[in-house]
Amino acid sequence: MRKTILSRRTMLRSLTTGVGVAVGLPIFEAMLNDHGDAFAADGAPLPLRYGTFFWGNGVRPDRWVPNKLGAAWWEDPNEELVSIANTPEVRERVNILSGFRLVPISGTAHHMPRGQVLTGSYTPSPGGACCGSVAGPSADWLVRQAWSGQSLLRDAVDVGISQMNKGASSFSVSSGTVFDDNGNAQPLEMSPRAVFDSLFGNGLPKDVPQVDLTAFQNSRYAMVDLVREDAARLRAKLGAKDQARIDAHLEQLFEVERSIDALESASSCAVPTEYPEPADYYRQEVMITQDGQPATITGELLTEKNEVMANLVALSLACDLTRVFTYQHHGMQTDTVFWNLPSVSLGHHQSTHDDRNDSPNPQAQDFEAVHEISAYVMSQFNVLLKALASMPEGSGDVLDNCAIYAVSEYGDASAHSQQNLSILTAGRAGGALESGVHFDGAGRYVQDVPLTLMRAVGLEIDGFGQGELRSTSPFDAMLA
């Protein structure tokens, strides 16, 4: 059958879809060549995507590392990876990386390894004080800069699931997973509603049904211009430091203009109905059972939120609204309480150590809790991977064209071990990555992994990280 060549924008405009319906906008059979692996019009390859999945506090390596090394790891997985091993449409595109380690430097627990695994950088605070700082960009930041402007709407979508760090308890810790060039942590969007609005809310006035799109866009551009004018008037009254801050603020306005640019295409990918969600995934009264006694506590609806967020991220990639994402399940060292798991009653970080010695059920209970949490987090990562695999694209699906770096700051967080980190990759980067393999890094440093993934999606970089934490040695075994 003869294929009609359509412009991509025409195609997008003609489609409408709904979130729960994982239609994916097939990129777009009509637009592809006979092999379904490139655009027919200009032979350009399908877009590649880069993602980071982060979770805090590691795993229990003895129950996480697959028993089988090499290809088809899922044939003999370990307990905590069963969910992925049992998902045929996903597992063949997942690599398990064991035997990778941190560069041995000193620094604050959790903070130092978090800096290493995500940015290949870390500067300790003077005198050993908490917490040191990240000194460079995260891998996803480099990718989003390299690809800036290429997707239809956003350079990246950064989301988080657990908001436990919002709790002002003395245990609260960090949400930093995305870092800019200066190592400043960037905000994550924790509200599915806000993610939805950011991707699919087109700002068209509801009460004016017949809007001339061009006129609308022009008025919207005029708004941005006026904000700039205001800023210029303000700038003239300020000292040098504050002038720089205003300049930085103004630079970000390009994002608004881009939203306006993308109105026609993005709106056609928009979901026509209101997005259903609970008012707040954060504080829900949920029933739990403690020692057989039901009780009501206030907890997070983690599973429900993850499902919604995974679908939103997958859809944003499928619609080419973005090509880079960061997905933080829960932050490093976070005390997220997994109320939904039977053995868990402490926060995650707390469970990994600290009090197990004088726990009423010494050791066994908390270790079991850590194991359950690890298995659960892997199942939640699997939900994201399944969502990506459900979006058809060309001859395959979106996951094929992804390179996803899934990592925690530790393997064994209980011991603050600098060895045996817990790392997975997912996707084939359009065929550039080997997949379905359990690799043994045999003491390689973790920074090699994001370097490899960035090169797999086409970044021409010869290294990743700063100073003594910089890697210039990609893990070639993982490249196809």
């Binding site: 000193s106 620094g107 627990a109 300790p124 005198g127 004080a129 908490c130 917490c131 436990m164 002002a168 308890s169 003395s170 810790v173 960090s174 400043n184 960037q186 924790m190 509603r193 806000a194 609005d197 950011s198 700002g203 509801k206 004016v208 809007v211 006129a215 008025s219 919207r220 005029a222 708004m223 006026l226 904000v227 205001d230 800023a231 008037r233 009254k237 300020l238 000292g239 430091k241 801050r245 205003i246 930085a248 603020h249 970000q252 994002e255 608004v256 939203s259 403690q290 009780a295 009501t296 506590i297 309480v337 009653s345 402490l346 707390q350 600290d354 009090d355 010695n357 726990s359 009423p360």
Partner: protein, 692 residues
Amino acid sequence: MVRTIALCSLSLLTACYAGRDGANADGETDGADDAPTAGAEDGGDDDGADDDGNAEAAPFPGGLRRLSRAQIANAYRSVLRAPDLDLGDALPVDPSTDEDFRFDTELVAFAPFGAADVDKLDRAALAAAAEAFADADLLTCAPAAADDDCAAGFLRDMLRRAFRRPATDDEVAAYTELAVSTATSLDDVQIGLEFATATALQSPWLLYQVEPTDPDGGTRTLDSYELASRLAFFVWNEPPDEELAKLADEGTLTDDDVLRAQVQRMLADPRAAANMQGFFRQWFGYGSIELLPKNSGVFPQFGPPLANAMRIELDHAIDQIVGGEDYRSLFTSDQTWATPLLADFYGIEHPGGTGVGAQLDHWEAEEAGAGCNAEGLPAGFHNLCSDTAVLSRTVDVPKGADAHRISIRAYATQGGDELANMRVSVDGAVVLETDVEAEADAPQVYTVDTPLAAGAREITVQLTNDYYVPPENRDLVIDWIEVDELTPGGTEPVALTLPPERRGLLTRAGILATYAKPIDTSPTTRGLFVRQRLLCDEVPAPPPGVATDLPPIGGDVKTNRERVAQHMQDPVCAGCHQFIDPLGLPLEHFDGIGEYRETHDGAALDVTGALDGVTFDGAIEMGQTVAADPRAMQCAVKQLARFAFGQEEGEHQEAALVELATVLDDSGSWPTFIEAFVLSDFFRTVGPETAQ
């Protein structure tokens, strides 16, 4: 690992405190008059240091401070004249931090808006403006064109609220031009004004507090608009209201008398109490007690209801201070504001039992029963004169409560058990029928819980003597009857006296639970709370690579004092833990959720402690010691300044803040201090950029 430990012991053995408050932490007070050379060692920063090496006093530097999410939301409500506007998740979130405690204003004041933030603001502004324009209240006239008188008046007023100063003619012209061009191209006048409004909502003039520095590098007095803005956000967390805006326009706000009257007016408004409560909640860190991870196996009673009761108690303690009660009583007060749940947790009586709320009626039964005229009979309603005595009273029941409690107190005038039947009816329907059995001098309260419909209800109490009680033995007396509202779940707090083991903040359950672990106390965390938050002493974090786990309880190790003793012996840890733990161990009589315990699993507790040479025994003496320490006042002032100005004080600000603390010290009154704070030059001026 070994290497890092060696490094740490070098760096930490000498002293624990590394912070800018070092001068305080050596145990000397800051009463600088008898220590003229104090501060001579802080010569690291040459900017503005005088000849003696002291930092030149200066207020916080001027410049831009980003509004917090809550402040932006309030600004939107002000601009759009929509006090109830619900912005949900629409506005950018404030940044958070890994580091130790900082106020939300500190985190946000100098944080950049990222690309995602700017984009969110744009959408939030459009959506909020659209919602406001859909409401009839925003436009008070009907514009026929986007530049007619009506539209021009609207834009000028709207910009006045958005920029918190009058817009210049240039600005009005620019906004009018946008409104006109939009109205023309989209063929809708209102959309034109809506877009102009949505633009003002994203203007940097709205998003930042603008307080430019003096161009000549000196200290500059804020003008009346800047002062109105600073004052309103400080006291109310909101932009100026109409009255403040009017005084700013008139230029009189900068007059001392006018400013004082305004502070007093604002402090009397509930918004001030709410904002101050926000400050104290952040400072003391108790805003989310219900989210504390507590092991339900160890603490089955800890859950949202109890956590909520703990928060209510703390909020009330704060309200008392903010309302003018002696500030030191924060640390020493014997009062609580306890729900029945918390009262039970504290082991004290709650007068009404569970869930008693407002009292609807209470009457002393003065009239005797029928047939009684004899002298010498006891006061009160009784059954001495007849077989049956009936007492009725009409009670006005307001709407609101779902249930009510009728209480009757009875006693006997003679010895011996006497019996009568008591029947209580509401509008003729019997709600309680019981034998009354009272002993002399042991009054009993009989209660019945029943819903009372709103309106006038007739309550009838009837006493009937049992047939076998001989008349001479009849001596039952009812001395009062009361009708109360019942609140579902028993959440209504009342003022009660704390049990003898508790006094003040350090013994309140919400604080003790917050600074503890999921299954146990934490003397170190509690000590850090006192050191860092209450006294503003700085303590460095544990050196990397050091195990912070305590040895388990078992064998000779029976209490946390014995567990933390290890820290004291290990030179790597001792430097700091000697400084911290003696301020946590005195609280060991309170477990991980703040419940009193006489022993720790049977082991006797030694709750002695020390603060820089002052020793004490137990939580109450520690509270008195903290209350008497000048650092407690100075720290309160510093914390408030950090909250108000979104930045930490430096050496230039130190002296002024210590000076302001004397107002709190002398008056003991928080509102008096706030007034002095606002009227001070420190509040009304901005320093040069170098004053950091």
